[in-house]
Amino acid sequence: MPVLYVNGKQVTLDDDPRTTLLDTLREHPNLTGTKKGCDHGQCGACTLLLDGRRVNSCLILAIQCEGSEVTTIEGLGQGEHLHPMQQAFVKHDGFQCGYCTPGQICSAVGMLEEVGNGEPSDVTGRGDVTLSRAEIQERMSGNLCRCGAYVNIVDAILDTADAHSLKNGGAAT
């Protein structure tokens, strides 16, 4: 039976190749943290990390991920201890109804990795990538929030990035 690894644990896939990665998770008792907002790659609520990359899990068949490592919102943080990004979202009130939130957080974590890799965005231009407010806003535009918490989400991400950079001695913007 094909398997994939979700937050380090093995999950067996069902035998219907039509089952998406998103539905595989949501039908699993303890993995409903990843949300379905549109099921067609148009809102980002289903964002998680697949082999470290942020992706929309609704447009991926689970069978395509056989053997892959999936990190969901449940896999960030350790038990009762929240991941710094999660803490920052609480501190800055980066959510209201909370439905887009797991997707926002996974997306933000993936996004910081992309910035660290020097991957450009639509606002970067020809030079190096820096983590400005404008960069974060563009890079997080794949995660809709109808409650309108965007400004606070950016504050939470900047807070986390600053803390992270300071910790590693990198240059923050």
Partner: protein, 739 residues
């Protein structure tokens, strides 16, 4: 040391850790011993008529299908909309009742299977033949001429003060303009979802619903069920914005499935369903007539609203509300007309009436200011009312003028160029806009029950909901503040129909109403505790007002008593009290509103007409601010909605079919993160004693009113182009921009 959980503190949301770790359970996520069956909704694709033939054989025998429900085999129900004298949230919402099609998107079958993939595929195998109604009507404009029975919120459809025609004709300066707003979707991020299970006796429904008590009644009425045998649970809701006030198709269909199969059935609306089957906000045509003296004093305000109404679903927005109450006038004409058409249901959407009424009205006021050759801010300030122009009632509080002045100063309004189109930077035209913000403030009956346990924890129960509004947190703070307990000793239990009936979430009345009920319960609890303290320590004549509840202790006279000790000594495992609130005379005798002033700076690209908002600033007066962190978030959200209404949102109706062609989140444009300007929010944090005992006022819908008009007015200021058809998309500006 201040309790970080007391009222007025920016306490982090108590449900925050759950939400950020994916452990908050939304409707579709509740676990069962056996996974529920999955229901897929099949929609009608004509606007009106009947089902002539429905062939479900191939679907029924498709892999994994447990049943296909249609009007042929669904359980008997009370007809849709009955009884007629019940409100629309408790009437029957029968589905699969007969062969009649109410609108494009109306459910005509439910395919129930073991997996979503099997249900969705089987649905494609259903063959349907229709008998379309040749006289179907799918659009409504200014020809609307039905007088609605009432407007949402209770305002009278028609209101006249003074002699409008005379005052308008006598005015030195007049304006007669017509604005339109499109059909709009609430588009909560969580699609409507329900899981229903029936154990032979009781029906349990996990739902995403704003009002729980009415949901039980609606289900009972629809399904001809004993309401005492129905339990509705909605502890976490992924956004409502009005579209989850009532019971909608997925909940009824899930119940029908569960009753039919005697197994739990889950129905999650597909996002394309949501655009049809969650109520939307109907389009409007608004004709506004203003008359003023040459020096800019308004003497006649006229507002006529024309909106569609879904046939058989009585609902009309009070679009004229801002025109009736914002500015001083002795002559007022305000009318509302609707037209019943064959369209998906229109019902309350965030700030009914005010949201789209302010878009048009505050734009027209802006036009009038320019026509009188006045600064739009000065024009507004010169026309402040001293009593409610529509009723003559005094205002409970009124500091709109202060909001405008304070906002103007903080925004830098004085640096604004007087004439439109006079400022640019590179290829960007720059403009500033202002709008008044006003939203009715309500208090609604609500009840709660609380228990203080001997271990020093306090639990409160109410069927109240938190739709992202912060209810769990606000109620924690009210209890913490009143009882002198830390937040982690307080449990707020919401969202279960077994709990005392509350006001639910809607109309911005949630915090004030459920909070006032909780305050009442806590005060009753204090009385009980003091009675025990009095008995235990013979403090017969010490006045109760002198007692302080702090840090889990009662400090009374020269004694400090631990709550836990008091309870243990008394032999009671716990104490329970109830609380409630009812609106009083202050809501009858005064005109109650929350206020604000909003300012916008926009850039408009000279070449393409693209509008990008640079800054939004709002000064808001909403009484006592219970939690500045969550309050600011509510206001942020509303401002984003307002900007979106001004520039982006439109359900594109194809009148041949009576449906909206952009039924998805790629083409129904909500703002994305990059659309955000710098947003600056200020509170005038002053308790309003006439609002309720907490001194707070409604915030949830406040900032959506006026934000859009501020943006639209800024677009005019930047370009000299006035667009009267919302949303103000680039094509509407482009034709007027020189090349």
């Amino acid at each position: 040391m201040t309790n970080p959980a007391s009222i007025g503190q920016p306490l982090d949301r108590v449900d925050g850790p759950l939400k950020v770790s994916g452990r908050a359970t939304y409707a579709a996520e509740h676990a069962f011993d056996q996974p529920p069956l999955v229901g897929w909704i099949v929609e009608a694709t004509i606007p009106a008529g009947r089902i002539k033939q429905l062939d479900t054989g191939a679907a029924e025998s498709s892999t994994g299908v447990a049943a296909v429900l249609t009007h042929h085999n669904a359980a008997a129900q009370t007809p849709f909309g009955e009884p007629g004298d019940e409100g629309r949230f408790t009437q029957s919402r029968a589905m699969l009742f007969d062969d009649h099609i109410r609108y494009h998107g109306f459910p005509i079958a439910l395919v129930i299977a073991d997996t979503l993939a099997n249900a969705r595929h089987a649905a494609k195998l259903i063959k349907i033949r229709y008998e379309p109604d040749k006289d179907a009507v799918t659009t409504a404009g200014q020809e609307a001429d039905e007088i609605p029975e009432e407007l949402d919120g209770g305002m009278e459809p028609d209101l006249f003060q003074g002699d409008f025609e005379q005052a308008y004709n006598d005015a030195e300066v007049t304006l007669d303009v017509t604005y339109t707003t499109p059909n709009q979707a609430a588009a909560a991020m969580e699609p409507h979802a329900a899981i229903a299970s029936f154990d032979g006796d009781e029906l349990t429904v996990y739902m995403s619903v704003q009002l729980i008590g009415p949901a039980v009644k609606a289900l009972a009425t629809t399904l001809k069920f004993d309401p005492d045998k129905i339990r509705v649970l909605s502890p976490y809701i992924g956004g409502g914005f009005g579209s989850k006030l009532g019971v909608h198709n997925e909940a009824i269909l899930a119940c029908l499935g569960a009753l039919h199969l005697k197994r739990p059935v889950k129905v999650v609306q597909h996002r394309r369903n949501v655009f049809h089957n969650a109520p939307h906000r109907g389009s409007s045509v608004q004709r506004i007539q203003l008359g003023a003296s040459r020096d800019g004093k308004l003497q006649a305000i006229g507002h006529e609203s024309f909106m569609p109404m879904a046939r058989g679903y009585e609902f009309a927005e009070p679009t004229g509300a801002p025109a009736r109450t914002t500015y001083r006038t002795d002559a007022l004409k305000s009318t509302h007309r609707v037209k019943s058409i064959d369209m998906p249901v229109a019902d309350s959407c965030r700030a009914p009436g005010h949201a789209i009424g302010s878009l048009a009205f505050e734009s027209a006021i802006d036009e009038m200011a320019y026509q009188c050759d006045q600064d739009p801010l000065a024009f507004r300030l010169a026309n402040m009312p001293d009593k409610d122009p529509s009723t003559g009632q005094p205002f409970a509080s009124h500091d709109l003028a202060e909001c405008l002045r304070e906002g103007a100063e903080k925004f830098g309004w004085q640096s604004r160029e007087q004439q439109p189109g006079n400022r640019s930077q590179g290829r960007q035209l720059i403009g500033y806009g202002v709008a008044s913000t006003i939203r009715v403030n309500m208090l609604v009956p609500s009840k709660t029950r609380i228990r203080l346990s001997a271990d020093g924890t306090l639990t409160a129960w109410a069927d109240m909901t938190d739709i992202g509004t912060g209810t769990y947190t606000i109620l924690t703070q009210i209890a913490a503040d009143t009882m002198g307990l830390p937040a982690d000793r307080i449990n707020i239990e919401l969202g279960d129909s077994r709990y005392p009936p509350s006001c639910g979430s809607g109309g911005s009345f949630g915090a004030a109403s459920s909070g006032s009920a909780l305050l009442d319960a806590c005060e009753n609890m204090r009385t009980k505790v003091l009675d025990i303290a009095r008995a235990q320590s013979n403090k017969g004549d010490e006045p109760a007002e002198n007692a302080r509840f702090e840090n889990g202790q009662v400090i009374w006279g020269n004694k400090t008593l631990l709550l836990t000790e008091l309870l243990n000594k008394s032999g009671e495992a716990y104490l329970e009290t109830e609380g409630e609130v009812e609106p009083g005379d202050d809501h009858d005798n005064y005109s109650q509103h929350s206020y604000g002033a909003q300012f916008a700076e926009v850039h408009v690209d000279r070449d393409t007409g693209e509008v990008r908002v640079q800054r939004l600033l709002g000064v808001f007066s909403a009484g006592r601010i219970l939690n500045p962190k969550t309050a600011r978030s509510q206001l942020l959200g509303g401002m984003v909605w307002g900007q979106s209404y001004a520039l982006l949102e439109e359900l594109m109706l194809d009148d041949r079919y009576g449906t909206f062609m952009n039924r998805d989140l790629a083409e129904y444009h909500l703002p994305v993160n990059r659309d955000m300007p710098a947003i600056d929010i200020h509170f005038r944090d002053e308790p309003d004693p006439r609002s309720n005992r907490l001194g707070s006022k409604g915030i949830g819908e406040l900032s959506i009113c006026g934000a859009g008009a501020a943006v639209a007015n800024a677009v005019y200021h930047a370009t000299g182009v006035r667009v009267r058809d919302f949303p103000v998309t680039l094509d509407k500006i482009l034709e007027h921009l020189p090349e």
